[in-house]
Symmetry: none
Subunit: 202 residues, 4 copies
């Protein structure tokens, strides 16, 4: 009983800290955020943060890890029912922009705070990001095997191009003060990625 309650409370508190942290990091940036701000917003004492996280940095890590693994597992699930590789990539692009739209603060933390440190990026890369790129690459290579995609293209590079294009959409959206819908841009990106910009020479 007690354990259950504690776990629940503990879980709630951990959750509360992560939620506060996303808001605080998003609005002030990682380095300008104080642990006290996070604790305050979560309505717990400063010291309590350290019962759930080893350090301020670990909070940031946890945000990335949790969001990323959620995203990847959800992504994989969504892709299961899709057989055509181009449809898969389309779904990934849509999900990517949807997810980012859905939680602007989280998006800011991903686009901005995560990028601000080589260390973070490296750690994050090996943790979750690499998997994400792999997901894209797998779909791409499958498409090549299906003769849907050109065989003269390097799948690793293509997956990065794909990701880079989407990523730039998100970054611009964040900086633009959010006046437009992000998701429709998936189609724009896919038009170019799939068909290229050259006009058909008839």
């Amino acid at each position: 009983m007690t354990r259950t309650t504690n776990q629940k409370n503990g879980g709630d508190k951990r959750e509360a800290i992560l939620k506060s942290a996303v808001k605080v990091f998003a609005s002030k940036g990682y380095f300008n955020s104080k642990v006290a701000d996070i604790a305050g917003k979560a309505k717990i004492a400063d010291g309590t943060v350290y019962l759930y996280f080893k350090s301020k940095e670990e909070i940031l890590h946890s945000i990335f890890d949790r969001a990323m693994s959620e995203f990847i597992s959800e992504g994989k699930q969504e892709l299961e029912g899709i057989s055509e590789s181009d449809k898969k990539l389309r779904r990934i692009a849509e999900l990517h922009l949807e997810k980012m739209s859905a939680d602007r603060n989280l998006a800011i933390v991903f686009q901005v705070q995560l990028r601000g440190s080589i260390k973070f990026m490296r750690e994050f890369s090996s943790a979750g990001f690499a998997q994400y790129l792999e997901l894209i690459r797998d779909a791409f290579e499958e498409g090549q095997r299906q003769k849907l995609f050109r065989k003269d293209l390097n799948p690793v590079v293509c997956s990065k191009i794909f990701f880079g294009a989407l990523d730039e959409m998100v970054t611009n959206w964040i900086l633009s003060k959010n006046k437009y819908e992000l998701k429709p841009l998936a189609d724009e990106v896919l038009k170019v990625f799939f068909g290229g910009v050259f006009a058909n020479e008839t």
Copy 2:
């Protein structure tokens, strides 16, 4: 004579500070860099930094501004002799990757430190980055008028896709500890951007 000497010395010192700062920022990140580190590496006293820059932040700004305006003016010049729009985009892509290859520390500052703060990104965006995207967009629109590029594509979005793809190449290159040549990737990006990934359905 005296004036020249002073200018030179002044210029030299300012230059030295910027050079040190690029190195220091690249290796430790902006927030973890101490002004004393920058001064030390530049072999001047701490206080001297403040004869040339108002604050630590202004140093970062100056790095961006100088590099960006250099890059843009050089870019424009290079493009002058080129008439075909696709060649122009090719030259831009090559230059982008060349420049980044040429000064890895500067690249890190651009790819990492600049991205770590919404404030920096916003300021930088209005300062130089917007111009760069415009350069790309102009070339793209020209291509559309020349019927070289599809008219159903949004030039603004396309320029962002183009930039985002290149940018991702650079970021990956930086994180990968530099074991490969960056410039050849321009061709890969262009293959996809121009022709798309779909195989020709014959």
Copy 3:
């Protein structure tokens, strides 16, 4: 219990800081005193000072405010049982010199540090000093109503003369390295203030 302890500790620490500060300010002057000195003398960490005071300046303020309100309330109480106005002024003069004698460091802070800045003086004037002058003036005006004191004298000016004379005694005492008793000078001041220096022309 806990609360009591906390209050005590908190109170003790605040108290300790103020005590240290009086000593440190007295010996080095406000501007030459380091917060670290104050903390050190109070045997607490530097940062702890800021749990009790917003800034170094606020410490100085608190010293003034506390001492002044203590002094005034004590003064008022002492005067309550006295009906003759000249006795009241005598008591004020005695108290003034007694109090200053009793804590030489505090006296230095009042005579020296407080005077060293127009800003401090203005703030202090409106805070507590004005009240003190009023106390004197009230006694004086009462004396005028009692026909004890001349009616052709401006009470405001007279209260300043009274204060100025005492104040000068204190300042001289502080500068003189403390070889004589301060309190007996009250009588000297009163002799002049009450009777003037002119010999009786008989």
Copy 4:
């Protein structure tokens, strides 16, 4: 010729520095004034200040010394033609307030900056202030010998009372933002000092 010119220039420059310093010290306080501000206001280079003064502190000293010796010699001269001791004291009081009225900035430096440091006060006391008190005391003692003033009063204490009363007038005038004439207060002070505040018991 050259020497004369230089001396003149030198003198002028020294003078200019002292003038600037009085203004700057008066408006910002000694500790908050920068040598660069003084130099700037005097329209000379920062370093030039050090050709005329050994340190910032010496500038303050020079201000005191010069003003004080000027004041004392002028005071002595003025008193020469006066034979009655009470007239002498009256003249001193008037001169004191006149002089202070005449240069408000200088008055601020004397009333405020000079008082802010025991060190300054001690040094100044032995330098010029002691002489000033002596001037007053001499007049007072003379008055006692002339049987004009009571013999039961301590001349040293009386001279301090006299000075303290005047000094308080000046301090209040400075703090009050200068809306009234200072000089007429000499008469008020003298009325009390000479005749006391007691009403004549008839």
